[in-house]
Symmetry: C3
Subunit: 321 residues, 3 copies
């Protein structure tokens, strides 16, 4: 047991579960990591931190009230989607008192959707990951066209017919660190180097391999879109990086037996995530929605399902046939 696990074990029970929920955004079942993430979120912005707190508490309490698996709840699995729903709605919609109601409703739904996806995916032993956050947030964001109580913020991409995005360029060497750390920070919508560094630190205390995969994902999310001449501004803000960060952590560290092969597969998955990011952004342009972390979810699903067909990642004896 590492020192980080011991610190995690020292947190009192309800707080431990909530903070683990925050930590699970980066696959870390550790309350200390969650605490670092939450502090980072508040540094990024008080509204974002508060919304994440409301989200993680709401979604975790919902899971308890609806009678979902205590083991899953205690591992923080019913917390991370709520953690993401809160800051997401506060970033993309204009702030208002009723927005808190909206965050609470969306966090409740995220726990229902998580349980549903867990049930669907159980025979395949593939995780739902942040899909509940994405599906719920998309639904709540796009629904505001119909509700005068809420207003789209200018941060949301404008709805329209997709056109070629100009503005390719070469990232100056001195801007690389900024882009890398922002790429990690953008996983929780933080356009901030400090937040990105704190996120990496929180991951590193749980697993150095995890942190290495995260930073490698950020590299892939800068190098590959630059090669394909994607918009430089988006690359600099880390907007091509936060999805490969998660993909490489999932494939190269969390869900497949760690090995050289898994690391190579993670790089491949990271590259595909960049294409998927650009593609999904175009798919969503007519209704004016952001991709959120769905490029990561889609690519991770494809690679994990596929790994279930490979002699390198399936123990033939353990398989259910």
């Amino acid at each position: 047991m590492t020192w980080a696990s011991r610190v995690d074990g020292a947190f009192p029970q309800p707080l431990q579960v909530i903070l683990r929920g925050v930590g699970q955004v980066f696959f870390c079942c550790n309350a200390l990591t969650g605490l670092i993430f939450l502090i980072a979120l508040f540094i990024g912005g008080v509204a974002a931190g508060a919304a994440a707190t409301v989200g993680v508490v709401t979604s975790t309490v919902t899971a308890r009230l609806l009678g979902f698996s205590k083991k899953d709840i205690d591992a923080g699995l019913y917390g991370f989607n709520g953690t993401l729903v809160g800051p997401c709605l506060f970033l993309f919609l204009e702030h208002s008192p009723q927005l808190w109601l909206y965050v609470i409703l969306a966090s409740i739904l995220s726990s229902v959707v998580l349980a549903a996806l867990m049930r669907i995916l159980r025979p395949y032993q593939v995780p739902a990951s942040t899909a509940p956050f994405v599906l719920t947030s998309w639904m709540f964001l796009v629904a505001v066209y119909g509700f005068e109580s809420f207003t789209r913020s200018p941060v949301l991409p404008a709805a329209g017919i997709p056109v070629a995005v100009p503005g390719a360029g070469r990232l100056a060497v001195e801007n690389w660190p900024v882009a890398l750390f922002k790429g990690v920070g953008e996983v929780m919508f933080a356009d901030s180097v400090t937040v990105g560094i704190l996120f990496l630190a929180g991951i590193a205390i749980v697993s150095l391999r995890g942190a290495l995969m995260a930073i490698s994902g950020a590299f892939v999310g800068i190098i590959f879109p630059t090669l394909l001449n994607a918009n430089l501004n988006a690359i600099e803000m880390g907007l091509y990086a936060f999805n490969p960060v998660l993909t490489m952590m999932a494939i190269g560290w969390v869900f497949l037996k760690p090995s050289g092969k898994s690391a190579a597969l993670a790089v491949l998955a990271g590259v595909m995530t960049v294409v998927c990011q650009a593609g999904l952004a175009s798919f969503l342009t007519p209704i004016g929605l952001p991709t959120l972390t769905f490029p990561f979810v889609l690519v991770m699903w494809m690679f994990l399902f596929a790994a279930g067909m490979s002699k390198y990642w399936v123990d033939p004896d353990a398989e259910e046939g």
Copy 2:
């Protein structure tokens, strides 16, 4: 056995199956209920009634010809999607002789899609419900852009980039009953108080709890969109209500063990259905399609799959693992 079941049993076989198919639109396996629904449909409009009749007969006969389960056919399960396909196409497309061919083809396909979804969902013991009707109707409605033989009726939402929908307002007290009953009637596209009352009566003779859930769903579909300042005209026509009506019946009466917990879950699901209604409407705006009953289907699926993970709704011994 209730008197309604005895009346149902008195219908001669082929007629019983067809009428049960109509009754299953509101989850009622009862020929008398189906007869009341069909009469109501004809009161709402002769074309709608005739199209529903053609639809239910076609889809039921198709199921027999394709060799699907006799038990399911006899319960009317292969009838209700056809029942809905007919009036749907007659509402949203301009009337013409060849529209009858289109209704027949769509009703045939609805039975194929139902069998397919039943097969997919069988391991999860979750129903396909009206998904075949929605998927088939969407495909046939959106296909008419390509066929000069058919014309979109002005009732269809115009295709375009989604924009904020104005026109919020407070529903006058005297208009509540109209909105409530129309909300029930709109399940089968009837903008009529009489039809809504007849539908409720047909449900009530099978189950008072079912009728209570239906009217509660209509309440949720008026109160909640009013709270969020949705378009008043849509609320008055019951267009926010018909999906929660079905959701609350499904969750609070049909598919989960009836209890106080299930009723509470049904209210929650009803609220989510309203958000899903507004969201899905925006999703479909670029191609000019209506949501039909898909908000209900999506939310019901999420809640039923999720219930499969809850200690309150799953008998741990009966579970298949």
Copy 3:
């Protein structure tokens, strides 16, 4: 063993696997058929032939490197999606050196997606067919809005809000053969009678029933859209035919026990494919993507899943419950 099987067996191993991959585009596990197809592709255009070659080799090698089933690889199952990805990207994007990189990446991903879909569909014993090609190509095609390195070719449908497509007309008798053979050729993007005839020949040496289903599908893809007054130019180019060609082969020859019933079901499925073609084209209009072979995939999936519920196509003893 037929003479065609003996010729297939005479090909040296690596070449046999690659050519079978090409043959599997039309469900033919035969290297000679694949060779005929490949020659036809080169006749249709050198770039298309070269891109198909790169695609089939890349996707097959990927499957080997990722440790997927040797039996599936040897049957060419990891080749046909790559075969289609190559010419697809070369048809719909402007040619450039970096397009080869794009084809290689997409072919790699197509093998991952195929393994993933195989894993998902395994409990249902339903094939993934060309879904990996379609999903991968869509993603790569729509992603180019974001990458200045690639340019959409004018062959791609323009993105926009869908409107009614004019230009219906009656196909002159002398143009029927052209439309029929082009309909077969368009499965691999070849607007050429010669290519269509060669494709049919390649199928016929494996199975006359297969070739009969293919040409019947082309008939359905001309007669039915003409009846519904679809755009004459599209019909003449075989653009309504290539999907029913595949649907009728899949339902009437490959995946269901061949019988009169299966042939009748294949015609029905072919008709539905035409509606699905027009519908899906409208669905994709806002983002400017072509349907590719997804109408076939969707309809085939629906009919095969549904066949799993029918006493005519399921052996009740063999069923897994």
